[in-house]
Symmetry: C2
Subunit: 299 residues, 2 copies
């Protein structure tokens, strides 16, 4: 009789999230000048699914690594993600008052402190990886830092954000441009989470290639679902303003393809992502389940 492996994603995500939040909580103490540390912690500890750090830990474990080795990097990913949210929400950028059901950082601490809190989180993320990663060759840690830097700089997240800003109010945005935006703005950091977790576990080139495809696919699927939810979900469900894309006359996947085709494309991407992981057997169950979760999620 073949052995049946059951995998409970809910339990898995809940446990990992708890672990990540404990590590994040311990990563920043409030010292003088208190206001900046409080501001950093306000956004860092504001909840969210912690999907990025969880992906980082899962990729490390996929390749037989101890997830404790990847925990500092996982925390750094959340710090960088938080920085990008704080800066995106600023009046000079998307001008958002709410995020995850709470006032945005600059609404609480002021624009100046919000800018500085983002800068501090970004710089600290790299310090944290360099200082706190234990039990792995320094060369791997350097590769991890280089990968994260590339994923955040103009070659990654920032580049995607710039094209997104340029496209605001433009109605002739092509699918190609939209892909550029989201491959950089959303997928780049998700990919860095997966690749860095894998690098710390000693990934070879084949692992990196497979996991890059996996991450790009779930990254794009994630964004397509985000666009869909902006139309179909309420602000309450999302914890942020719904219907913003339509209000801003923003070209999105649903506006290009319609809701139904968008859902199909997201599903196809998730299947592509999962196909990359087949050869890893049961070790890939968490990353497979996370890919499915991305299309099934309601917020």
């Amino acid at each position: 009789m073949p052995q049946t492996v059951t995998f409970n994603l809910d339990t898995y995500l809940r446990d990992r999230k708890q672990e990540v939040e404990a590590a994040l909580d311990a990563s920043i103490a409030v010292i003088y000048p208190e206001k900046i540390y409080e501001s950093m912690r306000y956004s860092l500890m504001a909840g969210g699914k912690r999907l990025r750090p969880i992906l980082c830990l899962a990729a490390c474990e996929l390749l037989g690594g101890d997830r404790a080795v990847a925990m500092p990097t996982a925390c750094a990913m959340e710090m960088v993600h938080t920085m990008s949210l704080i800066h995106d929400d600023l009046p000079a950028m998307d001008n958002d008052d709410f995020r995850r059901g709470k006032l945005t950082n600059h609404k609480v601490y002021g624009d100046d402190i919000a800018i500085l809190a983002g800068d501090a989180l970004l710089a600290y993320a790299f310090e944290f990886i360099a200082k706190e990663t234990k039990g792995v060759a320094a060369e791997r840690v350097l590769k991890t830092i280089a990968n994260l830097g590339n994923a955040v700089a103009a070659t990654g997240l920032v580049g995607g954000q710039v094209v997104d800003l340029e496209c605001e109010g433009q109605l002739d945005v092509t699918a190609e441009t939209l892909n550029f935006i989201h491959i950089h703005k959303t997928a780049a950091l998700l990919k860095s989470c997966v690749i860095c977790g894998a690098l710390l576990a000693g990934a070879n080139d084949t692992d990196i290639a497979r996991l890059s495809t996996y991450a790009n696919s779930i990254g794009l699927a994630f964004q397509i679902i985000d666009d869909i939810l902006d139309i179909t979900a309420t602000s309450e469900q999302l914890g942020k303003t719904a219907g913003k894309d339509i209000a801003a006359q923003k070209v999105t996947y649903p506006s290009l393809w319609g809701l139904e085709t968008s859902r199909q494309k997201a599903q196809e991407l998730v299947e592509q992502a999962k196909a990359q992981l087949v050869s890893y057997g049961d070790a890939a169950l968490p990353l497979m389940a996370i890919a499915d979760y991305i299309t099934a999620r309601q917020n």
Copy 2:
């Protein structure tokens, strides 16, 4: 007859500046989306004395290291410094229109791009060190990255900036608080330049202790002279608005101590700095001369 070593600081600074600017120029190519790379280059290539990268290279050579090993880190220091200037100049912060005689980044590219250019420079700085440093053990590079992160985050530059913002318009700022501001806002990055250059050359604990005192002292002296020049120099000489501190009713070293005592304190700090380097002999001539230059400079 004792050998006389002549050291020409003008030639030295000019040569090193040229070398650093060539490396900076090569560090960022303009690719799609062009606007963000142009914005990063606009501020990164806007001149300045390049004192930070030069200090980094000089500290590496002081300990017998090849300065080519420290060049990526030296460039990263200037990227981080440029990020801090771009963000400091934003309307939400100091709201400056001119810097080094040119329009500030946000006046040319807009507040949104300026925020993103700073973020990209900061992330890229770490990527650049991790990827481009050659010919030295990975452990040393990791220490360098950790040191730089610490010097920029809330424990360094950002922390200094936060206290500086809190003190705005306050007239009862103590010398202790003023020291906190400048040890973090100015000296932390200068110190990181010197320490990281030294770390890459294989500094021991004694070297690090001496060079830390050297860097803290020249960092504070640098700020005292900055405060003095804000009063005594013209905007044209400074390439930025002069008399800003008085206009903003800002407590400065001259406002606490008077001009003459401030000049004396700066001179004392420079002597303290130089005293740390005596045991290195002629190898310390560049760092000695740079310390003197700080009090003699006119802009």
